[in-house]
């Protein structure tokens, strides 16, 4: 599809863009550096504030025999104790398999069984220990391959009853909550005819997001019956919707539920959808008139919010001797955890795209969402793509080596380009994958062998490509309001979240560009669902694109209204008018310049003394109208589930100390096709941040559980995340710009993509250095040391 964009005309007239494409200073900068920025936990709620604590399951799978809350109710300061009996409702983002508090069964260690509300935090925590729960322990399933085996106990016997989106295919009577299949061409025949076929299995464990701000929520049901919930969230409107739906039996309608989301201290997917917030919202309904705060500890943050799912990936690739990939078979067994209301869509997204950014004629993908008795899996930066690219990009390096082809040449030969057919039959969008490969390869001096002076150090280089599409409902939408102020400044209201990526700044730049304003004259704030228009969620790397289009459209509407007033009063035709330097100007009358501040509120007085115009207000919305998630369940063919893909390449130069197995990253380069970088500095920020987060997953992070399903490392001492020491010596961010035809100024999202390539690029660099292939993440010092001692040289 093609759309004509107003910016093109504007840019042509002005010869250049003034706000878009500049590294405008982030508009939340002063708030955040001065201490003024307020996060949820920083808000004051007065002396009526109560505190919540959660009673948690010690078992991975058990039946709740009884709950006795009497001792807790009598404890000092306790106002109320609630259990699943108070809220016998299920809900979920894409599938209704989740509960506010456990209903009859617990399915992972840490699951919320009851909630205590007390005057102080300490009192709530103390009283929670007094709730007595009797359990009948059941056999727990911790491994997805065991959970899909015949005769495995069922984690959700009611799977067949759950509501779900039409693009999920649950298998009732099994632990398979969703099975995404792709069948294209004839893989069997292609493998038979291929010159070379390689099959192997790759393993990726679970990971934690580790936003530095823990989840926190404050709920208040006021005496008028309105429920307001302040949350540290990526998804104010989706939360409002889920609170309203989950609590609908209590008589709430959407208009009675309000979600306010101030600044959020990092999300990475962990604060998307709804996790603990619904507990806080529900608790608040039990103590009318009192705000209730529920703040998760760092430990709870690890075990009772979303985790990145683990995956066992069985991969088979066939190629011809000239390097052409002819067939891919990718079977992904996802350890999706106890509830998959969000995580099943991660599985779906991966299944649709598990060939990676390559042209593949014959495909058989099976992506299985498997219930296990581990904490609920969910979205994490990369949304399934980070997970499967490790195996895929490792595997392709091996295939290239086996047929004697350079891994970069091999990738270049098979790289998907505009118009190529995707696994589900739709076609690839314009993409800068080839320049991304070339620029990355040259940034790490690909092909130039490097040797260390130190005999105990070996050097390796690795490269990996990546792609990712926003994973969302086909009609996920964004909206914006825009209003002018007396001095010609503008307020833009949107409901995307400033997670740190610079969203508010980018929206301001887009509005400023269309309206001929300096970026400083545009104010964009964090949302309040009572006042700000709809946004689905700030996930999927889609807000620059989708919310950006909504803002662009609002600004265009405002501009039209401005031109209309000028036309009414001065008679200039609209198509001769333009906005620049905070003024309306005219191409046919160089002397005409009407400052916006003169009329955007008060209007313009005409010769007879009457006025025209009035406050300039506008709105814009965007919903993709070319997508559809309907497809054949057995083949995945027929739909157009993804709006577009963002692509790129990642290259690593590493040194390995052969005595210790320690890996040092000397250089990390990453090229991503932003379409148009609305703010290049912010794009570079995503690249450095994503690279380091991705490197941590491959080098040391890893959630470890004991045989009873208990997380062994729920803190930063035992689950190490990178410090200032743990970064590459050099990071090289590369921005590619092949415009997205339907994007705002040609932009598409890049936020998640920057994390995907690091893991396989390291695996490939380790192979390059040592000749040893490590097929499971993380590639720890111990694994490398073992590999070194086992290797022939």
């Amino acid at each position: 599809m093609t759309t004509t964009h107003p910016f093109e005309a504007e840019a042509e007239r002005n010869g250049e863009l003034n706000a878009v494409g500049t590294s405008a200073v982030r508009i939340d900068g002063i708030d955040k550096i001065s201490g003024a920025a307020q996060f949820v936990d920083d808000l004051d709620f007065g002396p009526g504030l109560l505190h919540g604590a959660v009673v948690e399951s010690p078992h991975a799978y058990a039946r709740i025999v009884s709950i006795d809350t009497s001792k807790a109710e009598d404890a000092p300061g306790v106002v109320k104790v609630v259990t699943g009996q108070d809220f016998p409702y299920n809900f979920g983002m894409y599938m209704g398999d989740r509960y506010i508090f456990a209903q009859g069964h617990v399915r992972f260690v840490g699951e919320q069984v009851a909630g205590v509300i007390a005057r102080t935090h300490r009192q709530a925590v103390q009283a929670a220990k007094l709730v007595e729960v009797e359990y009948e322990v059941l056999e727990a399933l911790l491994d997805p391959k065991e959970a899909v085996a015949d005769g495995a106990p069922l984690i959700h016997p009611d799977l067949g009853e759950y509501s779900h989106v039409p693009w999920f295919f649950p298998k009732a009577g099994t632990n398979i909550a969703h099975w995404r299949k792709i069948r294209k061409g004839d893989t069997e025949r292609a493998f038979a005819e291929a010159d070379y076929v390689l099959a192997d299995t790759y393993r990726v464990p679970r990971y934690a997001h580790c936003a530095i701000e823990p989840h926190v929520t404050v709920g208040k049901l006021d005496h008028a019956g309105r429920l307001t919930v302040w949350t540290a969230s990526q998804s104010p409107h989706t939360q409002r919707h889920l609170f309203a739906e989950a609590l609908a039996p209590l008589g709430f309608s959407h208009k009675d539920v309000r979600v306010i989301t101030p600044y959020v201290g990092g999300g990475f997917g962990g604060k998307a959808g709804v996790t603990m917030e619904v507990i806080g919202a529900a608790m608040a309904t039990a103590v009318k008139g009192h705000p209730v705060k529920l703040r998760f500890t760092r430990e709870q943050e690890f075990y009772n919010t979303y985790q990145r799912q683990g995956v066992v990936a069985e991969l088979k690739v066939g190629v011809m001797n000239d390097g052409t990939i002819t067939a891919v078979e990718h079977t992904l067994y996802w350890d999706a955890g106890a509830y998959v209301e969000y995580g099943a869509n991660v599985v779906n997204a991966a299944g649709l795209s598990a060939t990676g950014p390559y042209r593949v004629p014959n495909i058989r993908n099976d992506s299985l969402c498997v219930y296990t008795n581990l904490p609920p899996g969910g979205p994490y930066r990369g949304f399934g793509y980070s997970e499967f690219h490790f195996g895929l990009e490792s595997h392709l390096d091996r295939v290239a080596a086996a047929i004697g082809m350079d891994p970069v040449d091999f990738r270049r030969k098979n790289a998907i380009v505009e118009g190529d057919e995707l696994s589900y039959g739709a076609h690839m969008n314009p993409s800068g994958l080839l320049p991304a490969i070339d620029e990355t390869a040259s940034a790490i001096d690909w092909g130039v062998e490097e040797q260390s002076d130190d005999p105990n150090t070996v050097i390796g280089k690795g490269i990996a490509l990546f792609w990712k599409a926003p994973a969302m409902p086909p009609n996920a939408s964004s909206a914006s309001f825009l209003k002018f102020n007396e001095d010609g400044s503008v307020n833009v209201s949107v409901s995307g979240m400033e997670l740190g990526q610079g969203y508010l700044t980018v929206m301001a730049q887009i509005a400023a560009e269309v309206l001929g304003l300096p970026v400083e004259k545009v104010r964009v704030e964090t949302p309040d669902t009572d006042r700000n228009p709809y946004e689905w969620q700030t996930v999927a790397s889609h807000v620059t694109w989708s919310s950006g289009l909504a803002v662009e459209r609002a600004a265009v509407e405002a501009r039209e209204k401005i031109f209309d007033v000028i036309h009414q009063v001065y008679g200039y035709e609209d198509d001769t008018l333009y906005l620049a330097d905070e003024q309306v100007k005219c191409t046919t009358d160089p002397d005409f310049a009407k400052p916006l501040r003169d009329f955007v509120i008060d209007g313009i007085q005409t010769e007879d003394g009457t006025w025209r115009g009035g406050p300039i207000v506008a709105s814009g919305k965007f919903m993709p109208e070319f997508t559809n998630a309907n497809s054949d369940p057995e083949t995945g063919q027929g739909g157009h589930p993804n709006v577009h893909y963002t692509v790129g390449a990642c290259g690593m130069v590493i040194e390995i100390d052969t005595h210790t197995g320690r890996i040092f990253v000397r250089k990390a380069a990453l090229a991503v096709d932003a379409g148009k970088a609305i703010n290049p500095d912010l794009v570079r920020g995503q690249i450095t941040g994503g690279l380091v987060q991705g490197l941590a997953t491959v080098l040391y992070e890893d959630m470890r559980f004991d045989e009873d399903g208990r997380l062994l490392n729920p803190n930063f001492t035992d689950y190490k995340i990178p410090t200032a020491f743990d970064i590459p010596d050099e990071m090289i961010p590369i921005i590619i710009e092949v415009p997205q035809p339907d994007g705002p100024f040609g932009a598409r999202g890049v936020g998640e993509h920057t994390m995907i390539g690091a893991a396989p690029a390291i695996a490939n660099a380790v192979f390059d250095a040592l000749g040893v292939r490590i097929t499971s993440m993380p590639i720890t010092q111990e694994k490398v040391a073992q590999a070194v001692s086992a290797s022939p040289t």
Binding site: D28, I30, G35, R298, T688, G689, A724
Partner: protein, 156 residues
């Protein structure tokens, strides 16, 4: 227990419990919210404040221990005018979500007080107790080094 603490130049007489930590007292009793709660066990550094110009993790310091001492937070550092470091943090995009920023600014301020022209390794060391999940640290290190270079330039 009664304690007197100076916070950002203002003296406070406070009633605290023996187990109260400085972080909670700052946030709940004084209303100074820039020190953040990230882990409550000394791992993340988001609660960092200056105690008599030296950084401490306020989640590990008992409020009673601070009797008679002076606490500085980021609200106190940039009260009249942002420091050079704060300015550079903004222009070099040295934070994203900003949750870590108050603590990191204080750790970097302490470093620059002691060593006005640090090298990359010094900066990494000074910041190694402050976790940032967003930036990949590179732009933070750049900002601290840039302040150092500036101070080098104005030195007569």
């Amino acid at each position: 227990m009664q304690v007197t603490i100076t916070v950002n130049g203002e003296s406070w007489d406070l009633d605290v419990a023996p187990a109260d930590v400085l972080l909670d007292v700052l946030r709940e009793q004084i209303g100074v919210k820039s020190p953040k709660i990230g882990c409550e066990r000394g791992d993340c550094g988001s609660c960092t404040v200056l105690l008599d110009r030296r950084t401490v993790r306020s989640c590990l310091v008992l409020a009673v221990e601070v009797e008679g001492h002076e606490v500085t937070t980021v609200e106190g550092i940039g009260a009249d005018r942002l420091s050079d470091l704060q300015e550079l943090f903004i222009t070099l995009n040295s934070f994203q979500c900003g949750f870590c920023a108050p603590g990191i600014v204080l750790s970097a301020t302490e470093l620059l007080d002691e060593n006005p022209n640090p090298d990359r390794h010094d900066v990494q060391e000074a910041l190694s107790g402050n976790l940032c999940r967003c930036t990949g640290y590179e732009p933070i290190i750049d900002a601290v080094l840039a302040v150092g270079q500036r101070s080098g330039e104005v030195t007569p």
